[in-house]
């Protein structure tokens, strides 16, 4: 009798598994299952609805020959690169400034963090007005008397992608700042004091001690920002609608247009798979370095 375990014990043992099972199942089906389904679709000639006539890599060939896809991937590289770099730079500068034990820090922090609470649709609409040449910044500066001032990026197909960068940076840099600020607060004060005793100047302390110890924060910020960049869809829809022409299209917009409104589901699925490839190319090295780091 003594070695027979009571029922409650057994229940307690399997409880975590039981509780996790539904969400595990949902994740398996709704994320990984549908990834596989999309992968399968991308090899079919599906148009309006899924059709299981397999055509090999046809859709991928079509995709690679598509001018609009070329523009949207090029835009993603420009937009993603600048967005991540500027956000990281601004975030760390603002975090360091706020970390100088200034007055009203909580208030300022909230101000900078607040744009994150807004959706990209709102950000996009607001910046659409601000950047509109006959309505926003250009008009104000001209009304001040600088009649030659021109700031027409929003309607210029060469420059419009930088408008996306401006709006996205405005929204996300505060969030990066908060990440870095948390990181800065976690830096061992003893080390800094020791360095000060050794006569290190403040810039040296930041360069040699504080910033290197923020490496994990850099990594998380980079991963978060890069997936914000790749999935950007709402920002383009609200800010430019993909225009002028399709010069500010991003891959996510391309995918939506083809899969859902243009009855080219196969092509849309193929573009989705290429985007997934892009995300994996960033994620796998990151996960690899993270997991290896833990083992050591």
């Amino acid at each position: 009798m003594a070695n027979k375990r009571p029922f409650t014990d057994m229940l307690a043992d399997s409880m975590p598994k039981l509780v996790l099972a539904p969400s595990f199942l949902i994740v398996m089906v709704c994320i990984y299952g549908y990834i596989l389904w999309t992968a399968a679709l991308s090899f079919t000639k599906s148009r309006m609805l899924p059709q299981w006539k397999f055509v090999g890599f046809d859709q991928y060939t079509k995709l690679m020959n598509n001018d609009r896809w070329a523009v949207s991937t090029e835009n993603l590289i420009i937009f993603g690169g600048l967005f991540i770099l500027i956000c990281l730079a601004l975030g760390i500068i603002m975090a360091i400034m706020l970390d100088q034990k200034i007055r009203q820090e909580g208030f300022l922090r909230t101000i900078y963090l607040y744009p994150m609470a807004i959706s990209f649709i709102v950000t996009g609409t607001a910046w659409k007005w601000l950047l509109n040449p006959s309505l926003g910044i250009q008009k104000i500066v001209r009304d001040w008397g600088f009649t030659d001032f021109t700031f027409d990026w929003l309607v210029n197909s060469q420059m419009v992608v930088f408008c996306l960068v401006i709006a996205a940076v405005w929204q996300s840099s505060g969030f990066v700042m908060a990440l870095f600020l948390a990181g800065l607060r976690g830096v061992d004060q003893e080390m800094i004091k020791a360095a000060q005793l050794d006569g290190a100047t403040l810039p040296t302390i930041y360069r040699r001690i504080i910033l290197p110890s923020l490496k994990p924060v850099f990594f998380s910020a980079f991963v978060i920002l890069s997936h914000i960049a790749i999935k950007s869809f709402d920002l383009v829809t609200a800010l430019t609608g993909g225009g002028p022409g399709y010069s500010s299209d991003l891959p996510a917009n391309f995918m939506y247009a083809h899969a859902f409104t243009r009855s080219q589901m196969g092509l849309g699925a193929a573009s989705g798979m290429v985007m997934l490839g892009g995300v994996l190319a960033i994620l796998i090295p990151y996960l690899y370095s993270e997991l290896r780091g833990k083992k050591q």
Partner: protein
């Protein structure tokens, strides 16, 4: 006591009898803005008067894109609505997948073949059987002009594309934007389509945008059309990208711009601003398309249903849509013209009368052509391919020769 019981029982019987006959039609549509919603309410009233129930299923947004997404998921899960607002070649795609109901019973009884021009009924039929019912006709090749602005600049309202481009500098000198336009892909395509029809003619237009004939798409005429299209870019102000069509229309209304090429839904904006056709604004066919007509027809596709009551209600809906009463009230509200031929013209305004006369006139000469920019002429994938090329050409420094090459290739790739 017994009498009341009997009365109640009788009443209950009567009610149940009515219920048994009444079917419910669920109607998916995207007419949600003011005037449009009013137009739909007309249909709902007519249907309830016939003893059937109307279940409204409105999905707003994106010129029906959102509605189409919802429709796909409903249809695939075997739960399609009785009727869905749908246009052009989409009807054929749905019918091809076997989702649509056969309406020939209703159509034969009311003799739809006589009431509709064959260009229109061909779109509503799949393998010779009606599967959809048309609601209204929009003419797309309209030029909306502000006569005051033209008087100020001292030029006449253009009747050819060359005239329009020539009028540009004079209008600009008078401080007026010559052409109001919104830089969105479908608006670019609407303007391009009017130029292509005017310069190329109906046969060329049909060959290029309905049949997708490769030689026509690559022809020298097409290069000329693209060149003219690019020249109209100079008539448009720099801030046009992303502008909605109704904002562009309001520029014509208040005189900051002289004219706009847009379908007759623009008329609603003029009349809502209290303007009178012929006096405060002029509606004329787009340059060089006086005897041609690009149509954009709204229609309802009817889906296969299981229960007989629901089928009965669905057939009633289809019959009501084609009846003169609905055709008249709906189109007066919406600003379009009835698709049914031989209707009384008196309640309509001068623009609509012109449209009605041209609609039946061009139907006879073969100059009644489907608007490709509005999905009437070609599949959504070919339309997407064409409008990508058109809008990119319009907004970049690409040459007409390169654009024509890209057009032909893109159309081929979308097949």
């Amino acid at each position: 006591m017994n009498k009341t019981k009997a009365a109640i029982a009788g009443l209950a019987l009567a009610v149940s009898a009515v219920v048994a006959q009444a079917g419910e039609v669920e109607v998916l549509h995207y007419w949600t803005s003011g005037g449009e919603a009013k137009s739909v309410a007309v249909l709902k009233d007519l249907l309830t008067k016939e003893g059937h129930d109307w279940k409204d299923f409105a999905v707003a947004g994106g010129a029906g894109e959102a509605a189409m997404t919802v429709l796909k998921s409903r249809a695939v899960s075997g739960n399609a609505p009785a009727a869905a607002q749908m246009k052009g070649l989409d009807i054929q795609e749905w019918a091809d997948l076997g989702f649509l109901a056969d309406l020939d019973g209703v159509a034969k009884k009311a003799d739809w073949d006589k009431l509709l021009p064959s260009v229109v009924s061909d779109i509503m039929k799949y393998e010779g059987k009606y599967v959809a019912v048309p609601v209204n006709v929009h003419r797309v090749n309209w030029l909306w002009a502000n006569p005051e602005a033209f008087k100020k600049a001292g030029v006449a309202i253009p009747t050819t594309w060359a005239d329009m481009i020539a009028a540009g500098p004079k209008l600009k000198a008078a401080g007026i934007i010559p052409l109001a336009h919104g830089g969105q892909a479908w608006q670019d395509a609407t303007l391009f389509e009017a130029i292509a029809l005017g310069m190329g003619g109906s046969e060329f237009y049909t060959k290029a945008f309905v049949k997708h004939d490769d030689a026509t798409l690559r022809s020298a005429k097409m290069i000329d059309i693209f060149k003219t299209f690019k020249a109209t870019r100079d008539l448009i102000d720099a801030d046009s990208p992303g502008r909605d069509w109704n904002i562009a229309t309001s520029m014509v209304i208040n005189g900051t711009a002289a004219m706009q090429v847009m379908g007759d839904w623009a008329k609603g904006e003029f009349t809502a601003a209290g303007k009178v056709p012929g006096k405060d604004f002029v509606c004329a066919p787009a340059p060089q398309t006086e005897h041609q007509y690009t149509f954009n027809i709204d229609s309802f596709a009817l889906f296969n249903l299981k229960s007989d009551d629901a089928k009965e209600a669905q057939n009633t809906l289809a019959r009501l849509i084609m009846e003169p009463k609905f055709q008249e009230t709906f189109n007066l509200n919406k600003g379009s013209i009835p698709v049914r031929q031989g209707m009384d013209e008196t309640p309509f305004d001068s623009c609509a009368k012109l449209s009605m006369a041209d609609f039946s006139g061009t139907a006879k000469t073969g100059d009644l052509v489907p608007s490709f920019a509005h999905g009437m002429a070609t599949t959504s994938s070919a339309l997407g391919a064409i409008s990508d090329v058109v809008t990119n050409f319009f907004n970049s420094e690409q040459t007409a020769e390169v654009a024509v090459e890209k057009l032909a290739n893109a159309v081929k790739a979308s097949m």
